[in-house]
């Protein structure tokens, strides 16, 4: 075994290992990239029903309805970013810090009837926490200018939204 042949073998093995790693990664990326969308993004680039994505925004004031689905706790609420809002259904335990008027990130997929069915609802263990993605979405819809200071109390987002849709 000469040095050259050994080097060839090692290069071959490295190529095989990294090649298969790249192939696996690209293949897995095709199906497993989870995009973050705000409610107002849904109109322009609605993902196909069934495709998982993260939906983030604020829980609209007064929209939360709790119910029971087959003995399990269920909830219905609307998520808004000030520009649009989406109905979300969820079966499971809502996080302790889930509140109306506060930031939330949900993971799930659109249903054919236009509602979002969440499999996970995340709210951080902090009263004042605003998820980064949600904050960015609010900036984008023009409801928060970061240079003007901290975001206004979350509850006011929803009154704006209610006024807009309600006339």
């Amino acid at each position: 075994m000469t040095r050259k042949r050994r080097r060839l073998w090692i290069l071959l093995a490295c190529g095989l290992g990294l090649g298969s790693a790249t192939a696996l990664a690209l293949f897995a990326f095709r199906d497993n990239l989870v995009f973050f969308l705000a409610p107002s993004d849904l109109a322009s680039k609605a993902p196909t029903p069934g495709r998982t994505f993260r939906l983030g925004g604020l829980v609209e004031q007064g929209s939360l309805q709790r119910s029971t689905d087959d003995g399990r706790p269920a909830a219905k609420f609307r998520v808004t970013d000030g520009g649009a809002s989406v109905d979300v259904t969820y079966v499971g335990i809502l996080p302790d810090l889930f509140r109306e008027g506060q930031g939330v990130v949900t993971l799930g997929a659109m249903q054919p009837n236009g509602t979002f069915r969440a499999s996970e609802v995340l709210a951080k263990h902090d009263e004042t926490y605003m998820p980064k993605d949600v904050a960015d979405a609010l900036k984008k819809t023009g409801h928060w200018n970061p240079s003007a200071g901290a975001p206004p109390p979350a509850a006011t987002w929803n009154t704006m939204q209610v006024r807009k849709t309600g006339g």
Binding site: G17, S20, A21, L24, A28, P73, I93, H125
Partner: protein, 656 residues
């Protein structure tokens, strides 16, 4: 007074670290023995200064000195003493100081145990450690000083994050950090070797014990963290592929590769350049693991609060340490020459395969972890990479790795035949196949069956190696016993560690069969899950030291026999006004019964119930791995290497 003393000690440590970064390196360059001699003294001095600073922080927390901002924000007079102490590292500033303290401890360890090292190598290693220390101490002092005073002092502290008030988490950061920071020593050795311009077997012998120690601690730290997530977060899982978790897995993967390639350097003087690169890479990943998450660049569910000014400092620091060492590598690596020659099928070949696969896994995990950042910067897209990505990339690469893990140790060095090696493992292969088939038929779960087969292959393979080495069943009893005793501890260590991996794999496969449900139960009602009958007996209130809690009493029975009564609860922390669920877990070693109490509605308690088969094996396996590493570390051969080198050097007439 005490906080000022600590502040002063911290500033002193920065100065000492600065001197430690400059004098020994210059001394080694100019071959000035006196300058080189300063290295151990400076390292010990820095350690004492930092220990004082940390001691002052702990003191401030213990005596409830709320004029110290860090104590006011993270402690409370009602908190139990143990959490007052552990709370000092449960926040950004304190944990960075702990990190620096452990780095100083590494420098101190090299100074204390490295007497037999050639003096220029020792000076350079300590110098590189001092350089790293100086950077991070400056960061601590300027942007994250934990001993900052606040005026006016509040009457009481704001309490520690309730999630962190837990014995498991209390010891997770120090162990994990020791693991992360421990890789600074192989890194310093690698950079020192690049400066010296040579690497030999003795260098490999020196690097390996430090790597082993760091690896054991990192393994333990990751396992503790995963265990904490399992019982404290109450999500029912043990690994969520969260950026913080991945950040700890990455150095573990490359550290494992480093551990194995250092064996090749030590025994065969091959793979030197590669080992140096791995040592640099592992510490770089450790640094990224600790700090990239802090800089607020990666979004994570459980990172500390972030401050953008720190991010820039940290990024600059990471760029200097990582970029600088890689630049040095690019300039100096061609100087090193490879010596040992080996065939593709040999022990070295198997270790090369191990390295390639571990690095591939490391690469796909790194890609998945950093891709969201990349996508946002380049495409402006907001996205995250979910657990399915990691599962579908890591598992296929882990399978050949597991296959090689049992095969490698039975292959001889230099040149080997595949067939005789496979013959030694025939019964391990048979057991693995039988278990795999039985699991596939019995459980109707292909992936889990594959996992059980892999686990059996790893454990049986580790046994096969011992059987092979001791000639069990083939030689007379006396010979076997003699060979049994004659095996070096490192052989036992590697067999135990490989078997530990098998135990963990079995636990992960078992967890993939976990069942769970969410129910709303009134007291007296029951539900069936996983063959058990779960009855909610009562709901009641309880008072804790700094919280009130709502407790559910749940009885679990099977076929009428009571198995356990346990008490999941929700704790309302009065100061921070947060609620934390306290999971109840009952284990018999083969499965965990796991219950979480959710909210209450119309007198009914919402419960999440899980049955997790083999869950404890995951962390037990990690513990076995760490014990295997410790066994290997205790091997006498790890200690006698350096004097041998010194003797050889003296014989060759080039005594240091």
């Amino acid at each position: 007074m005490i906080p000022e003393l600590g502040h002063f000690a911290l500033a002193l440590a920065v100065v000492i670290a600065g001197a430690q970064a400059v004098l020994p390196l210059l001394g080694a360059q100019w071959r000035d023995a006196r300058l080189m001699q300063t290295a151990p003294a400076l390292a010990i001095g820095q350690l004492i200064a930092l220990a004082t600073a940390y001691g002052c922080l702990v003191w401030s927390a213990v005596v409830d000195d709320f004029s110290v901002a860090n104590v006011a924000e993270n402690s409370n007079s009602l908190m139990p003493l143990v959490y007052k102490i552990t709370g000092t590292w449960g926040n950004h500033e304190g944990s960075v100081l702990l990190w620096c303290l452990i780095l100083a401890l590494c420098g101190g360890a090299v100074a204390a145990f490295g007497r037999a090292l050639p003096s220029s190598l020792r000076a350079r290693v300590i110098g590189v450690l001092g350089f790293t220390s100086a950077g991070f101490l400056l960061f601590t002092l300027t942007t994250s000083n934990p001993l900052q005073r606040v005026w006016p002092p509040p009457l009481d502290g704001r309490d520690m994050n309730p999630l962190l008030q837990d014995p498991g988490l209390a010891f997770h950061p120090p162990v994990l950090y020791s693991g992360y920071v421990g890789f600074a020593i192989p890194f310093a050795f690698a950079v020192a070797a690049l400066l010296e311009g040579r690497v030999d077997a003795a260098w490999g012998r020196w690097v390996r014990p430090w790597t082993l120690a760091a690896w054991c601690l990192l393994t333990g730290g990751i396992a503790l963290g995963s265990w904490w997530a399992y019982y404290e977060l109450g999500w029912g899982g043990f690994w969520f592929w969260d950026p913080v978790e991945n950040a700890s897995l990455l150095p573990w993967l490359s550290g494992t590769a480093l551990l194995h390639s250092a064996i090749v350097v030590e025994k065969r003087e091959a793979l030197k350049i590669w080992t140096i690169l791995l040592a640099i890479g592992t510490f770089s990943l450790s640094l990224c693991g600790t700090f990239l998450v802090r800089s607020g660049i990666l979004n994570s569910v459980h990172s500390f609060a972030n401050d953008p000014t720190r991010g820039v400092f940290i990024l600059a620091l990471l760029a200097i340490v990582i970029g600088g060492s890689l630049l040095l590598f690019a300039l100096r690596a061609p100087v090193m020459t490879a010596a040992g020659i080996f065939a593709p099928i040999s022990r070295e070949g198997a270790l090369v395969l191990n390295n390639i696969l571990l690095c591939s896994i490391c690469a796909v995990v790194l890609t998945g972890t950093t891709y969201p950042l990349f996508a946002e910067l380049v495409f402006g897209a907001k996205l995250s990479v979910g657990p399915p990505y990691f599962q579908s990339t890591v598992f296929p690469l882990a399978i050949p790795l597991f296959a090689a893990m049992s095969l490698g140790p039975v292959l001889p060095w230099k040149r080997a035949e595949l067939w005789p090696a496979l013959l030694k493992l025939w019964w391990a292969a048979l057991i693995a196949t039988l278990i795999g088939i039985a699991a596939a038929l019995g459980l109707h779960a292909g992936l889990a069956a594959l996992g059980f087969a892999a686990s059996a292959w790893l454990i049986a393979g580790a046994l096969a190696e011992l059987v092979e080495r001791t000639r069990l069943f083939r030689a007379p009893f006396a010979t076997v016993r003699a060979r049994f005793g004659a095996q070096p501890l490192s052989v036992w260590g590697s067999a135990v560690a490989h078997a530990g991996m098998g135990v963990t794999v079995a636990g992960i496969a078992g967890m993939s069969l976990a069942v769970s449900t969410i129910v709303a139960l009134h007291p007296g009602q029951n539900v069936a899950l996983g063959g058990y009958d779960w009855t909610l007996l009562a709901l009641r209130d309880e008072q804790g030291p700094n919280y009130t809690s709502r407790v559910a009493d749940i009885r679990v029975s099977r076929g009428g026999d009571e198995i356990a009564t346990f008490h999941p609860s929700r704790r309302m922390f009065t100061v921070q006004k947060t609620t934390v669920t306290d999971t109840a877990i009952q284990t018999n070693g083969l499965r965990d019964l796991y219950a979480v109490l959710g909210e209450e509605r119309d007198g009914a308690a919402v419960l999440r119930l899980h049955v997790n088969p083999l869950a404890p094996w995951i962390w037990f396996g990690a513990l076995v791995m760490a014990v295997g590493g410790a066994l290997s570390l205790a091997d006498r051969r790890q200690r006698i290497g350096a004097p041998a080198r010194r003797a050889a050097a003296i014989r060759a007439g080039m005594a240091p």
